[in-house]
Symmetry: C2
Subunit: 380 residues, 2 copies
């Protein structure tokens, strides 16, 4: 037999090395369509930061999505996926001047600001661009609140957008973000009402704002999420429509949303294995070969709780602490609120973290402890 | 003039693009020598995880350092730097079986364990290897405590090391870690005393442990650190020597330490620039182009406080919140305890984070928000 004869490899052995993220692009497209259906008349701008996989971006573009970008690299990724630069929203409210100029040179026309200083910067680096002014929100009701760092008051927004007009920018309107993984559809009510006050004040000043960015925050199904904890997307669409009608009446502006997690989280399953099961001081610890530094940063403070499946599911379960593989003590996923896993789980068993398509591969470290970054294996 | 004529470039323009880590390998070697001087008779095993830069590893090896490793990639990095595999300590207490076998095949002989399960695993994957059993410590006095995830009691350690001997492993001794950036030299006292109790019990059972791994935790000079907050390395050496004499008398085992931060932190300066200075609700915010996701993860919970310098230093200063460049609200470095920066600091100004050589480049994400990982520029 020649040494060049083909080698037969059993398909079952063609499993990628764990840990890896299995990404179903069709699932993400299905979720995009569900958002389109739930939010008729509202443009969907997928938030590239949630998962910038290039095949995913191309599929979402082909399915009609626009994009929300936060950096020059994300502008390029969106354009390479087929997006028109004028359909992008550059939503990072505080940007390097050179980054604004770079994006503007590529044709980006809509930038988010939330301060007079940033407005002056955009006017200089992207003359004539359209600006959305971001309002502060409470973040209440969300798993990953965003309230501290960005946003201004309605009074400040009126001042900023009027100043923008005086600087030759187009005062497009208002943006806000109710916090990631927002559980309460009614959370959109107060900021929509606040936005309407800004629009009214600007119109009274003779300006003509036309665009309202409703942000992201639409949830994915996480651990222990019943209908009460994760309302259907239609409930969000209904609440937003009702609040828009109440706040704007017949003068409703164009609207857009920036979903990231809601599109891609449920499209991803993180495949990993048990490194060890131990008992420490009477508590069971399960160590996985994926952890905080290989993509699961959102478990910090145990904010995001991934649904777990194992190859031992079906038998009796018990509580355990879940830890990652690095020798860093911060690499613990769930400890304050332990997870329930099969009692017969042992070293080498496969574990799947579901709804893990968002904020995992991109949050992975370059290789802390010598463990490689989380890779993506696409399915479908 | 030919188009091939050399182009004159002013040296001042050859500045790398911010942000980047400037790494002084000679400073790291100097810090290594200071540790050698402070801990006579104790082997220094540099913790590769703190900064695995290959030029740094080669220089530390040439200066006499051994290495502490946590994964197959770190074993390879240490060997490529010139280390003998038998001089490595594989200190990650919970390891993939395949990783233990890989390291053993490369010649690694010393593995840390802290459970019966891991001892059985090492006996199977690295037959005849030497094992150190890690004791739990309180972590008190450290900026980045490590107490939750690893370590067992002295009673468990005696059991584990006796079982190791029965499994054909060499019960080498004990390891512990007093927590990273440990401020109190006396923190080594209780675990050294505990280690001595383990050694005595093993010797009473006819075993002959010979090695005590005193861990890391030696501090680097951080913000606001006077001599009280960051005692000189000699104070650590003196305290450890005193505790070893008290606990072990004439039967002192071989000793080693695993410094990471103490060697490389002060060898690194993170160069970045101000993206914006804003006022939010009466509070000044300074946004930098480096943040939590580009290497500064240790600012989470504001644990590690980097000394700051700016090109405006010298004039009046005031408090501000310090934030990173991504549009993630978690990308805030210091807010609960604000930092003091010059009042005339403006966009584009250069800012230097000192003592930033440890746990920065390796903690950097692969590119969250499209911002590239932190790069290293070596000096000296």
């Amino acid at each position: 037999m020649s040494v060049l004869a083909p080698v037969a490899v059993a398909p079952a052995r063609l499993t990628p090395v764990e840990p890896y993220l299995e990404l179903s692009v069709p699932t993400a497209v299905r979720r995009l369509r569900a958002l389109v259906a739930a939010l008729p008349g509202t443009a969907i701008h997928y938030a590239v930061k949630a998962n910038p996989d290039p095949v995913l971006l191309r599929a979402l573009h082909a399915a009609g999505s626009r994009f929300d970008v936060a950096s020059p690299a994300e502008v390029v990724a969106a354009i390479e996926a087929g997006a028109r630069p004028e359909d992008l929203v550059y939503s990072n409210p505080v940007k390097r001047r050179a980054d604004v100029a770079y994006a503007a040179a590529l044709g980006v026309r809509v930038f988010v600001v939330d301060s007079p200083e940033e407005t002056v910067k955009v006017a200089a680096a992207a003359p004539g661009a359209a600006v959305l002014c971001r309002l502060v929100t409470s973040g209440e009701g969300s798993d990953w609140p965003l309230s501290r760092k960005y946003g201004c008051s309605t009074g400040e927004a009126v001042h900023i957008l009027s100043a923008a007009a005086a600087l030759g920018l187009q005062p497009a309107g208002v943006s806000f973000h109710v916090g990631s993984q927002q559980r309460d559809p009614e959370a959109w009510g107060p900021p929509i009402a606040a936005a309407a006050r800004v629009f009214a004040a600007l119109r009274a000043d003779g300006l003509a704002p036309w665009l309202l960015d409703l942000g992201g925050g639409f949830p994915a199904r996480l651990a222990d999420d019943g209908a009460d904890r994760c309302p259907p997307l239609a409930a969000y669409g209904e609440a937003i429509d009702r609040h828009l009608t109440r706040a704007f009446g017949a003068d409703r502006p164009q609207t857009l949303v920036e979903p990231g997690r809601a599109v891609v989280a449920e499209a991803g399953v993180l495949h990993c294995r048990v490194v060890a099961t131990l008992v420490r001081g009477g508590t069971r610890w399960v160590f996985l070969d994926a952890g905080v530094f290989t993509g699961l940063v959102e478990t910090l403070d145990e904010a995001i709780r991934y649904p777990l499946r194992t190859e031992r599911d079906g038998g009796p379960t018990g509580p355990c602490v879940l830890a990652g593989p690095t020798c860093d003590s911060a690499d613990v996923l769930y400890e304050q609120t332990m997870v329930d896993l099969p009692l017969d789980l042992v070293e080498g068993d496969r574990v799947w973290l579901e709804s893990a398509g968002a904020y995992t591969t991109c949050y992975s470290t370059v290789g802390f402890n010598g463990f490689p970054p989380l890779t993506t294996v696409r399915r479908g």
